[in-house]
Symmetry: C2
Subunit: 408 residues, 2 copies
């Protein structure tokens, strides 16, 4: 942290996030691994809060993830806590991983007077080393004393590992004539070895919502937000998204509350975009839009093939409007495509159509577009109604430096 | 070509390849795109030769590939020709692609007195620009005059695009008391934009073999050779492997000729390894071996996830024995895995087992191994009998420079 310069794609400042009544935050210097910075955060949600979560699909998930997954499906109405440490991922630590997770959740339950089934933990940082859990548990009293509704930015900073900026987003929306607030923080996706690309996201709202409704909403929206971003196709063993609804606004949200759903999607998408913009070495933010596919699933397969292609990502880094590589990625994706029905646009410029370069396209147009910091690649397959949009960044010398050169 | 230094992994010299009776080669400077070098090669196989082929699975295949595929399944006993140009891939050129391919195959058939169904062409180089086919056809008379059984190395050089060295391999094997020879050449996988990662391979033998037997053999062996290498997970629209058997040795090969099959596998694997060793920016050659998987297919899925992971490939470039990234890749691959049953070796050194770092492992051991030019990563999943071996190279600043910086 601090070793690499702030991403050129970072927002100018951390946004002003609204206070969510019923949630308080605290952070502390526990010295898990880093020195001279806050590395543990506690979020405490008042009694009556509803929790939902989405987790990595990795087959080698870390112990805290497995623990959260076991708890997230349970109904519960007591207070709830989220405890997150940076510096150590407690991943691939064998039986120690379970022991450490248990030690933290048990101690937090005792210190805060909670049911242990309502204590959720995440760990991010170095893997393969036992989590010095006593450094976390020793600070629980101090954390409890420091709890404050206004400390969400402090929390966003405490969970950073190799991030070059803290990430936050919020929304306010009217539900049943009442204002409902949503605020979220995230970390990712710096991956300086031996850390991994862990993405952690915590979102809070004061809406009144049933657990199963919130869970369905979160899962569905994850598919069109966090599951539509990629930096380098690698997947963390610790990715975690937790959401808590305190109900303090008194406004009831259901599966039909489209205004709330839209607002939540906006917060999640904003955080997802910030994660991409902090991708290692990123200098360009890229939206890939695929339409005309045989199905939405096919569209996403094509879009992710484009977004993950090293040849496309290096071309973008080189500001090269290389539509031939886009054709290549579509061809290799495995989803249905017809070379001669494809059309490809960079920004608004039609580059290729009818299986060939567009007769009106001039290379200077594409070259000018590629100089921009935010680039859109649109592909229409001409086959059906399937669409998808995903986001990625370019692949630069910075990525290699961060991930390969740190020992030299 | 010549713009980048020869790969540090290149063999000391082009190997001495045996003459395959019944095949003659010629090359010429046609000026398709490059100046001052030979850029078209002709291989002419005598009457009675049997042809087989394997092609890219890309959905956006180039016109010459589609033309070869349509012809390769036909029986035929007349002479056969392979015409290959470098400098222009004749890919994503719309209807022009078909016209250009047809122009070359028709003219070659006339000039050489062949059935047009026995003329196979490949094109490699820039995409999206019409192939100036008249530059190729204008040289057919000159090519015919120059045909010589000893010019296979010249042929290997004429098909190069961004390759930093020509690639050849051979074997001799006894079948029914007679010596059978196999000789092959390949190009790939330099990918300087706007070129693509085209791999072209041509293998010749003097064995007597039925077409369907040769085709089955080639397809089966491709799965364990060329389909087990990856440089950056990107797939060309033009990948082509053609094999011709002239029958001049008089030695009959069948599906049970294990000595011949082993020899052919050896030639194909040698060429496949050379392609990886010419991967853009490669400084390390990496073998990934997976055992103990639930099935061979699962083993290959895990092996390719490891071989394609940018985080692993950059760690290798940085000489970092980062076994945590191997755990990550296994977790994300989608194939079955149990974190706590995994064991991971770098070379002969046991690095991780029982879901954690091995108690006997010392970081210095791993660090010493990673300094070598050829590195083996072995993973045992502890689940079943599935195995797979794949090969890749590291991901370095050289890759970024070749693929991103050429415009700067």
């Amino acid at each position: 942290m601090g070793k690499y310069p702030t991403s050129p794609l970072a927002p100018a400042a951390f946004p002003a996030l609204p206070v969510i009544d019923g949630v308080r935050f605290a952070t502390v210097e526990a010295g898990v691994r880093y020195k001279g910075r806050r590395d543990v955060m506690l979020a405490l949600l008042d009694e009556g809060s509803v929790m939902a979560g989405v987790f990595t699909r990795s087959a080698t998930r870390a112990a805290p993830v497995l623990d959260c997954q076991a708890k997230i499906g349970l109904d519960g109405s007591g207070p709830a806590a989220i405890v997150v440490n940076s510096g150590n991922a407690n991943a691939f630590t064998g039986k120690n991983g379970v022991t450490a997770t248990k030690a933290v959740t048990r101690a937090a339950a005792e210190a805060l007077g909670l049911d242990e089934g309502r204590v959720f933990t995440s760990s991010t940082g170095v893997i393969g080393e036992p989590l010095p859990h006593e450094r976390v548990t020793a600070k629980l009293g101090e954390l409890k004393e420091a709890l404050d509704p206004g400390k969400i930015e402090e929390a966003a900073r405490a969970i950073m590992t190799t991030d070059t900026f803290p990430k936050g987003a919020s929304a306010e929306v009217m539900v049943d004539g009442k204002t409902v607030k949503i605020a979220g923080i995230a970390k990712g996706s710096g991956m300086i070895a031996p850390d991994m690309a862990t993405m952690l996201v915590y979102v809070f709202t004061d809406a009144v919502v049933e657990r199963s409704v919130l869970q369905d909403m979160l899962s569905t929206l994850t598919d069109v937000t966090f599951n539509c971003i990629t930096v380098d196709s690698d997947t963390s063993t610790s990715d975690t998204l937790l959401m808590g609804a305190t109900g303090t606004s008194g406004a009831r949200v259901t599966a039909e509350s489209t205004a709330f759903i839209d607002a939540l999607r906006g917060v999640m998408l904003d955080l997802a975009h910030q994660v991409v913009k902090d991708g290692e070495g990123a200098t360009k933010f890229v939206e890939v839009h695929v339409s005309g596919a045989a199905s939405d699933a096919d569209a996403k397969t094509h879009a992710m093939a484009i977004a993950n292609s090293p040849l496309i990502k290096t071309a973008i880094a080189g500001e090269d409007p290389n539509w031939g590589r886009v054709v290549m990625a579509i061809g290799k994706s495995g989803a249905a495509a017809d070379r001669d029905l494809l059309s490809i646009r960079f920004g608004d410029v039609l580059v290729a159509e009818n299986g060939w370069v567009s007769p009106d396209y001039r290379e200077e147009q594409g070259a000018a577009l590629m100089k921009q910091q935010e680039i859109t690649i649109s592909v229409d397959l001409g086959l059906g109604g399937g669409t998808a949009t995903v986001w990625t960044c370019d692949l630069t010398h910075g990525y290699i430096s961060i991930n390969a050169d740190y020992r030299s």
